[in-house]
Symmetry: D2
């Protein structure tokens, strides 16, 4: 019987980790924490999660939850993970962080530049692993501290991995134009997420200045084996869940669409959660909702100069909670897909 | 190993039965049919259903599917079920019909008046059962032909059952004001379901003339033990899934809100899929999406003369495919909730 | 040249008054105030309103705006109107209040019971007029203080006026089931208006307890000439603008649908902003958006016992700012429809 | 009194031309045609357009409408404009075509390659003008045949004009990533525009193969004075109206964001319908709905290598009917903005 703690369970990422784990077959006991709602039940905040039978989950103090847990999912805002990571590392607990705090490894300078904070425990970052299973599966299996990737980075990196590792793509001039559903901005209401102002419209934001830019570039550089500086533009789209990234790269040499498509299909053939669509199909978040899939479609520009990849995920699942559970499975040494093979609704 | 056939699997109800059964633990083999798409795979129509591993489901001829099946879900348009029901009855197969054809039992006159067609095999209707488990659980367990309820009727009937059976409600003057998501109109495009014309607006339709009116009245009459003639108004709402029915009835004698609420809570205490919300909460389809739950909230009018019940379901699950699988579980004698305890997403 | 002041112009109702007046042909000068955004321009909050040519409107202090104005639209929260009304009354200014403060005339008890506040200047309420032009046109033309109706009340009252004044409807047991777009909850973000929680779902709220209930009942009583106690239920619907009220009343004696329809059509024949739809059509907010129209469709229940009226408006126009301008036109003695005949978009 | 005919008035573009002209102050008489709905009134198809007073517009035969008109707006599908253009040219009538038929001037080869049809009257194309007023204002004023631009091209071309004509942008490697609302696919229902399949999701389509690609490239080449081959990707977004194009170009030499922004602001200073937003603001279709504005925001990529322009329009107004009326104004020699200065709703 595993003891699993979810910190920040009243936020969207935390609540989604809970939802996924509730259907996970691992023998387990869930404990949840929340600063704002300590003492309330999780279903008083999210009535959807009300169990017809059995007990409600009570939101507790984070320290108590950590102390009682073998596995800790930290779903707190950026900047709060290190202290708990330290406790977990010393206590032999598995620590999976859904914030940005453990996504930059030893590159403290970049983290500090974009997040305004230095590392308190640099040694923890040396031993942490960036939790993109398709890239780092072996390291994740041995890791005790896992930095779960951001939502935009997950869709972007999976969309570019075959092209970079197989050297089809010029590394200069890569463009990632991404649309995100409004759950991406979290549970707290704001003017940007106020229905009358975001419904029925597309709004770019933080153009040239989003914190996922350095995370993406760091990972793409690792994939390419040389420094990559991409251009990433996020937009808010009127949908609940989902990220659709349309990605452009110049081809190093001319390729047929068939060759480009085959390269992607072959590369991801054995990946359980990446579906390369048939030639002629178009990737959309419509087909991956509430699932851990990343759907990728492959295209050429009409002038044949560029490869165009569309990469879609559910930002809350493959872009957050589902990938975190995938990482847990790997780190526990159980089948990677356990509890994650939910079929996305067709409509 | 059960052989299960789904007829009309390319429609929304059929595809949702498939989706639910794909995660159902019963040892089984699925066969699917479609008139329009015979010879294609189901995931060529619904890419969401593409299996990463294993084979695609091929859409076959209905006759072959029926012949090969132990259990048949018929998801065809109204008027096509009887012939297959006959074959199933004679062949000892379980037949679950998601159209209106087996919802009226021996009341052929009402069926004929509203659906423009007489019964071909009246004896099949005598032995069929109306598949609302909360009302007919025992009969369903013994049934070979089950008429799965309509979506509006399911939400309405569950919302009124405690008030009618316990005689709080005047049976005269009951009003059911219902909102439905656009999946309720099926997969075929139409002007009414064209995004620019249905998004961002509420549209009543078939006011005083919807075919679910006689189905609702027939069931309410059974619950009340005397003839009930309700007033039911459907509206199309700009959402994918869900039905929210706001139901009004005059109280036979004054009741406190606490007493009314307790009556509902007690009545449904042991029902696995009906959640009576805490006093002060409001039922919404938001909290039941992609699940088999019916969420009910209980209210009084400000002048205390009327009970107001809000009853919400996912029209494709408890209002169609989920309830059909619940009926299958009952008829097979396995635990009623098997494969149906999916937790609805909180957002 | 009229000086027109809009108080609370940074809120939704205020900004919509500005938008409508910008296209109004009256020779005028607009001044705007805001507590929260004093010193900023209105288009810094609402970029849609940016004038390509000419100057931005600067948000000023309310006292200065009132002092400089001949006509004052007060778009402040409930409870703030009286002081300004007093100044306007003494200064010979026209005062149009979009809050609830002047909707209850001499019925201070009801106002106090529902809004938790007594009148400071009861004499102002004696001279104020409830600004529903279809009911009070003559009085509005002579008024100096006008209480602009609420959004739900406008749709409800126009939907019931012919039935009550012509005595078709039983006054007991009237039910008003209303859907509102999210702009109805104003500009301030909240959990209820947070996109991921209100999109794609219908949520009833304040059932049996909404402040528009007494306003509706007061007006219906005036129309019927005897006390009416209706049952009103508001719901939040996933749309920006619009109210759709489905209204049920028992017929005093049997009527054909043709007779009921004719009665409505004749009654509203000369009203410039009420469109009674052809028999067989269904009223929807889709067709009145951004316009001052109220679209009414007339139906009978299938059991012929009840009249069913669907009444749709744009909550921000006929339900707020448009009706306020209509009242201004009347009070100024100019053609009532001036600046208000915008054609609603067809899609 | 001008006689104005709108052919194909039952389609979205045609109905929107009617709506705009109904509020246009020109003394005029409107005649409308429709193949599918001849003999019906326009408001029987679009109830929003029902006039409270005055007569409905009757849909007539196109030939009769053309014969009776001084000005003809042709809103028919691609491939049907030439015959009518010929009649208009010979009859001294002004002809404004909203299809693609007159967008390619003398470049018959490109038109034939993408639209599968040769010119019947090449001489008409020699005299026709591409109706983008910001580019061709003088020529439009003298034109008798005007090819109104496509929706995607309008947003793209206005977004790139200053950068190309002032030579900031490398002409190689321009990327245009566009989102369109569902009205862009017209009035006819289809699987792609079926609410349950397009709501709540982003779907790219015709990647590398959309017919607006050659139109865009032709116009960009004219602006740049040398051949431009851009990469254009359309997506369907869950919104009614609007196009948001995010445009990427490499800077020929480094520029500060201030310099780039000033260049755009100065360039468009005197354009009545192009609003270059203040530095730091983001263009969104939210702020241009139902208006003839094009809102442009100016950005730099984080690596400073690329200019990023976001260009938003209402696809039915500046992207179709509004621009057509703007062209009519120019061709008639009346003030260009007549009837087009509607203020977009702020929410």
């Amino acid at each position: 019987m595993k003891q699993i703690g979810i910190l920040g369970a009243s936020g969207y990422a935390g609540a989604e980790v809970v939802r996924i784990l509730l259907s996970h077959p691992l023998e387990k006991n869930l404990r949840v924490s929340s600063v704002s709602f300590e003492g309330k039940t999780l279903d008083s905040i999210y009535p959807a999660l009300a169990a017809k039978k059995g007990q409600s989950l009570m939101l507790e103090n984070a320290d108590e939850v950590v102390a009682a847990s073998d596995i800790v999912f930290s779903c707190l805002p950026n900047g709060f993970a290190e202290k708990t990571a330290k406790i977990c590392q010393e206590g032999g607990k598995l620590f999976i962080d859904l914030s940005a705090d453990f996504r930059f490894g030893t590159d403290e300078a970049t983290y500090a530049a974009w997040y305004g904070k230095n590392y308190s425990y640099p040694e923890l970052h040396s031993m942490s692993v960036y939790g993109l299973p398709e890239l780092n599966r072996v390291a994740i299996a041995k890791a005790q501290i896992i930095g779960n990737p951001g939502c935009y980075p997950t869709s972007s990196e999976l969309g570019l991995y075959p092209a970079l590792v197989n050297c089809f793509a010029e590394t200069e001039g890569i463009i990632i134009d991404s649309m995100s559903g409004v759950t991406g901005s979290g549970r707290d209401p704001s003017q940007a997420s106020h229905y009358p102002e975001c419904a029925d419209s597309i709004s770019p934001y933080k153009v040239g200045a989003h914190r996922h830019q350095p995370e993406i570039d760091r990972c793409l550089s690792q994939m390419a084996g040389l420094p990559v500086s991409s251009v990433f533009t996020p937009h808010l789209a009127p949908m609940g869940r989902g990220i659709v990234s349309t990605i452009y790269f110049r081809l190093k040499k001319p390729m047929t669409i068939e060759a480009l498509h085959s390269a992607y299909r072959d590369f991801y053939e054995r990946e359980p959660f990446v579906r390369v669509l048939p030639l002629g199909a178009f990737s959309s978040n419509h087909n991956v909702k509430f699932s851990n899939y990343c759907d990728i479609s492959v295209h050429l520009s009409s002038n044949k100069a560029m490869g165009i990849i569309v990469s879609s995920i559910d930002n809350m699942v493959k872009g957050a909670a589902g990938q975190a559970v995938q990482n847990m499975n790997l780190a526990l040494g159980i089948e990677e897909t356990t509890g994650l093979l939910m079929v996305p609704p067709a409509f």
